[in-house]
């Protein structure tokens, strides 16, 4: 069983490493995100959100659903922690 698990892990890792060959290079200006999404944010952030910090505007405005999900995950983690560990008396 352990050997089987090891094989699965090695196979998955090998596939991931092989797939990395197809990834665009680090900071490649001709990769798809650099061609479309990034210039859109860089050019329009100030005139659309009046927020100089682009990270904040992407995080909270353009990717608002993502941040809502993150906050929900943190909330769920806290509630689970409280349910498991809290003493019963108030």
């Amino acid at each position: 069983m352990k050997i089987f698990v090891l094989l699965v892990v090695l196979l998955t890792g090998g596939l991931l490493l092989a797939g990395m060959e197809e990834m665009p290079g680090w900071g490649d200006p001709s990769s798809p995100p650099s061609m479309h999404v990034s210039p859109r944010y860089i050019e329009k952030t100030m005139e659309e959100t009046a927020t100089p910090n682009m990270v904040t505007s992407v995080l909270a405005d353009y990717r608002g659903y993502d941040t809502l999900g993150e906050t929900t995950v943190i909330f769920a983690a806290g509630v689970a922690c409280l349910l498991l560990l809290r003493k019963d008396d108030p």
Binding site: M46, E47, E48, T49, A50, T51, P52, N53, V55, T56, S57, L59, A60, D61, G64, Y65, T67, L68, E70, T71, T72, I74, F75, A77, G78, V79, C81, L82, L84, L85, R86, K87, P90
Partner: protein
């Protein structure tokens, strides 16, 4: 349960440090538009200041300021502010979380969007702070052994 630990140095230093930590945390939350920072980071710093309070003065002594019941309300309130702002934008004719439609008396749409971002950062900050402290309190109040205190 963390009990009060009689050490005058720790108590004095925390008494001096905690207000500055909290001011800095509020600065990090409010200044997220112009510098690195925002709700998550500021909320964690704010939570750390209260954790320092509990560590220095004990959970019993700080019960008046922070208790698990209040923290549960605060954590829910943080998430409620976030989703509530999204819902207000929805009710005023935009998409969910589309801050441009918030009913704020500001001149231009980008300014309204900036205020919407600030609002959700505050919500995230409150939520993260409350969750950090409540996880800390829950873990430290957990006792092994048969007492089940």
């Amino acid at each position: 349960m963390i009990v009060q630990y009689e050490n005058v140095i720790i108590k004095t230093i925390s008494r001096i440090l905690i207000p500055f930590i909290q001011i800095y945390a509020l600065y990090v939350i409010m200044h997220g538009h112009y510098s690195p920072g925002g709700g998550f980071q500021g909320g964690v710093i704010l939570g750390a200041s209260f954790i320092l309070l509990v560590m220095a003065f004990g959970a019993e002594a700080s019960q008046k300021r922070i208790s698990l019941k209040k923290l549960t309300v605060l954590a829910s309130l943080g998430l409620l502010i976030y989703s509530g702002i999204g819902l207000v934008a929805l009710l005023w004719g935009g998409n969910y979380l589309d801050y441009g439609n918030l009913p704020l008396p500001l001149a231009t749409v980008p300014e309204i969007r900036a205020m919407g971002i600030l609002g959700i950062e505050i919500g995230v900050g409150i939520g993260v702070m409350a969750i950090m402290i409540s996880i800390f309190l829950a873990i430290t109040s957990f006792e092994t052994g048969g007492e089940n205190a």
